[in-house]
Amino acid sequence: MPDLTNNAPLLDIRDLAVQFNTDSGVVHAVNGLNLSIHRGKSLGLVGETGAGKTTTALALLRLIQSPPGEIKSGSMFFDGTDVLKMTETELRSMRGGRIAMIFQDPMTSLNPIMTIEEQIVEMISLHSGLRGNEVTTRAREMMTLVGIRPERGRDYPHQFSGGMRQRVGIAIALACEPALLIADEPTTALDVTIQAQVVDLIRNLQKVVNTSLLLITHDLGIVAEICDDVAIMYAGRLVEYAPLRPLYKRPMHPYTQGLFNAVPSLDSEPGGRLTVIQGLMPDPTDLPQGCGFSPRCPAAQDICRSVACGMKEYEPGHFVDCYFPNHAWEV
């Protein structure tokens, strides 16, 4: 994807392919993905289960378990360096220090037998260069920042509620002021009112720490609240990429349009019908030829089923992987 601005993006992923070799065949989890994030911006990566969102994030941190996983091809330039060519030491200083991650399930992603202060301290002493008391002071600062009383630092994760644990996760991730924060479904496991607290917290802290954000989610609503740019992912590839407003106002890819139509909203008329995307996600061990969405697409033509279109810039900054964007869905 060409640069959208003059300065180079913070993160530039090109033609990334990740696969898992399983008993039932090769799972093509990420399949030729192109994605870039600019400094200080937040990008929402949206897709349904199995679209390859989390795999992308883990690939970026080089945390794909191998076997069975394998990064087949591509490049991931982070701040000018290809993550795929980094040494183990470089990777370690990048993980946590330059790119930090918040995980989906706050119940399982904290070490159950370490106090939360120890877990925040661990991150700080790995990357900040602070020593001794400074580390603890910084950890307490972080706790205060995310809304946890510092005296609770001696407690263990099981003594916290889900929302509070996710705050701990955020404190850990932001403790060393990373250049990029990856948040993988940070609110999916939480209740609506707690979700609102956490979204609010992430949005505010992103400004405070001045970090770029990659928000992975299936929830278009949360993206609307936090992100500047949106990327829609389907079957291991991006299908649409644009700044928030154009994409939400005028989604062009048939899948994106279907996704927007399928979400019930607070303003929908009770008892109406939702427009449904027929069929299922393709089997990741046996992806269709051509465009991945073609088997479910109401506008698919012969060409869609043989050769994928590739990203095209239909409007300035609005990229769509489709020959026939803007096809109106029959409602």
Partner: protein, 297 residues
Amino acid sequence: MLIPVILCVMIVLFTILYFTPGDPARIALGQEVTDEAITAFRSARGLDDPFVVQLGRYIYRAVFKADLGYSYVMKSPVSYELSSRIPMTAKLAFCAVLFSTLVGIPLGIICAIRQYSILDSVVTLVTLLGVSMPTFWTGLLLILAFSVHLGWFSSMGFGTLNEMVLPILTLSGSSIAIIARITRSSMLEVIKSDYIRTARAKGQRESVVIFRHALPNAMIPILTIISIQFGTLLGGSIITEAIFSISGVGRLMLEAISMRDYPIIQGGVLFISLAFCLINLAADILYAFVDPRIHVK
């Protein structure tokens, strides 16, 4: 929980052996004695009292006077016989547990972090053989190899370091295998968990991830199996002591079994069960140290 369990163990043992055919008086006095002598022996020892009375007396004496009865064959108090043999067995079992833990856990960890490697396959195969070899056969093979053919180690007794090698190897063989297998599967389970991914995403060194994050979380099943192995090893000491002619509790009991010397059998099994229960208790307390989510009841 410990006390009622031990009391029940006493009742069970006493009952089993009480209803076992064979007259204790005959066993004590031999076949060549008069009926009068038998009668006198029986009444002197209260063997004609009802079952419940005998049981009550046994428990009362055991609990309050540490008196486990009188050996028919040795003609001495069971507690005396046991106490002279306990140190040997304790030393043997303790050394074996220590050895199998020190070998088993690292083996398990190596296999887990190098899953599907050649090393993993080799260790998996060896541990499979380890759990499948009967202790007594392992002992015989070790004697054959290291004592008979190579002449490196002694095959009798358990005093000097040289004598200790083969019995410990024999006794800990299957424990090493079991501990290694449990450690491997427990570590594999933990390594897959989300918080290990979190630790890696922090940029932590792999060695710290394994030893600071994964291992402590994998400890609970490992501790459990070690405490169970303690029991197995205490039981297995019967065989090891028999093979290597070590005069510990196991050999005492084996002799008692062949002589039908019930008070010794009762006392021996009781001692081993008590030791086993105490070790389980210790493991329960350790759990709470390892995992803050568990509270000592």
